[in-house]
Amino acid sequence: MELDYQNMIGSIPLFAQAAWTTLWIAVSGVLLASAIGAGCALSLYLEWPFLTRPIKAYIEVSRNTPLLVQLFLLHFGLKVEALPCAVMALAFLGGGYMAEAFRAGLEAVERSQVESALSLGLSRYETVRYVVLPQALISAVPAIGANVIFLFKETSVVSVVAVTDIVAVAKDLISLYYETAEALIMLVIAYLVLLTPICLAVWWLERRVKHAVFGR
């Protein structure tokens, strides 16, 4: 197999620019998803009335439908513009996964922790803020990390709603020059460059907080 290296090097600026789009969608999607997930998990934990059922329904719907179908429905069905649509769909999908991660973290905090804090005279707010949350967040780190990597990889489908991410660039190069091998190799390299630092960061963070879990 002869590779056209000239062409591969020439396509680097295109991939670099598209990588920013991919990164931008992933980062804003993950941040929004985390905010939604944290909000949902916390309101479930505090048992806010009227919100429990809708939030539980949202978590099930977002986790049990594919991102691609969510994107199609948002973009073609509800006519949301391409870039906001990509971010919204990722936030919708990720919100459910993040809610589950935070919820598991909150549930991992033992009941006696809350009881002790309350009997020491801490208010309900103080108990959640200074006793429950720090422990819950730390035990949720592995699940959150896995979700971040998962969501990042899921961004690969956003080109279906005409977002110029790295997959779109690879597809364009294939249809323009028929240099399939070159474009696909560049695509894999682009994902390795984007994802390896994130995987390493998640792995490092997981090891870093391993010893912080209370009582272990």
């Binding site: 197999m1 099930e60 719907v61 986790r63 049990n64 439908t65 594919p66 691609l68 179908v69 969510q70 199609f72 429905l73 073609f76 069905g77 509800l78 990889k153 899921e154 690969s156 489908v157 279906v160 997959v167 690879a170 294939i174 399939t180 091998a181 696909l184 695509l187 894999v188 994902y191 390795l192 994802l195 390896t196 995987c199």
Partner: protein, 226 residues
């Protein structure tokens, strides 16, 4: 009119075509799940061995599959290998191969983790009682591992099902592609066709995945107290 355009879903010919597409989706998912579970268990048990000869290739296999998005794997097999190696697989075969390989890697890791996390004293006690190596696996380790394994592997099955819409990008006429075709035919007369058709497909996926996810959670809750 809030429900204008919904009649696209009332046409039985349209629904029949969507059902045909759904059969393709389910076929790919089912075959991939079977391959992934069988091969995954085999590789997972092999990966329990701590030797470098096993661990290094196993980790390379697992991590390289995990770090590349499934869509990119589909493109590599469908567009790439067709040209480089002269493989002329159609989209459906490519989908089955890619989802099986990916599922095998994930399943192997689940099996390895669930057998590997059993306490060592289980093996030691069984050995002290005079059980042979195969008896230890068959009567002591595997029955306990299955309890940890089953909920997670059912979860993996829903993940495989939720990945099948990607097939639309490698020319497979599955449920989403049929939906696109229905919308294209009706778009001039029905401006809300996309909303109703994609809405229905959204609901179909939920109705398939949600009960399976529920089953996985039920099993997990029942077996978590040991």
């Amino acid at each position: 009119m809030p429900f204008s355009g919904a009649d696209i879903l009332l046409d039985s010919a349209n629904l029949a075509r969507l059902a045909e597409g759904l059969i393709v989706t389910v076929r790919v998912a089912a075959v991939s799940i079977v391959f992934a579970f069988v091969l995954g268990m085999l590789i997972g048990v092999i990966a329990l061995s701590r030797g470098k000869l096993v661990q290094i290739p196993y980790q390379i296999f697992l991590q390289s599959i995990r770090i590349v998005p499934q869509l990119v794997w589909l493109f590599l097999f469908f567009f790439g290998f067709a040209k480089w190696l002269g493989w002329n697989w159609n989209g459906e075969t490519t989908g089955i191969v890619v989802f099986s390989i990916w599922g095998t890697a994930e399943m192997a890791d689940i099996v390895r983790a669930s057998i590997g996390s059993l306490p060592v004293h289980q093996t030691q006690s069984a050995a002290a009682l005079g059980l042979s190596r195969s008896q230890i696996y068959l009567f002591v380790l595997i029955p306990q591992a299955v309890r940890r394994l089953l909920p997670v592997s059912i979860n993996l099955a829903t993940r495989i099902i939720k990945t099948t819409p990607l097939l639309v990008l490698i020319t497979v006429v599955e449920v989403l592609k049929v939906g696109q075709q229905l919308i294209e035919v009706n778009i001039l007369t029905n401006s809300l066709a996309a909303f109703w058709v994609y809405g229905l497909i959204f609901v179909i996926y939920f109705l398939i995945c949600f009960p399976v996810a529920l089953l996985s959670r039920k099993l997990e809750a029942r077996w978590s107290v040991q």
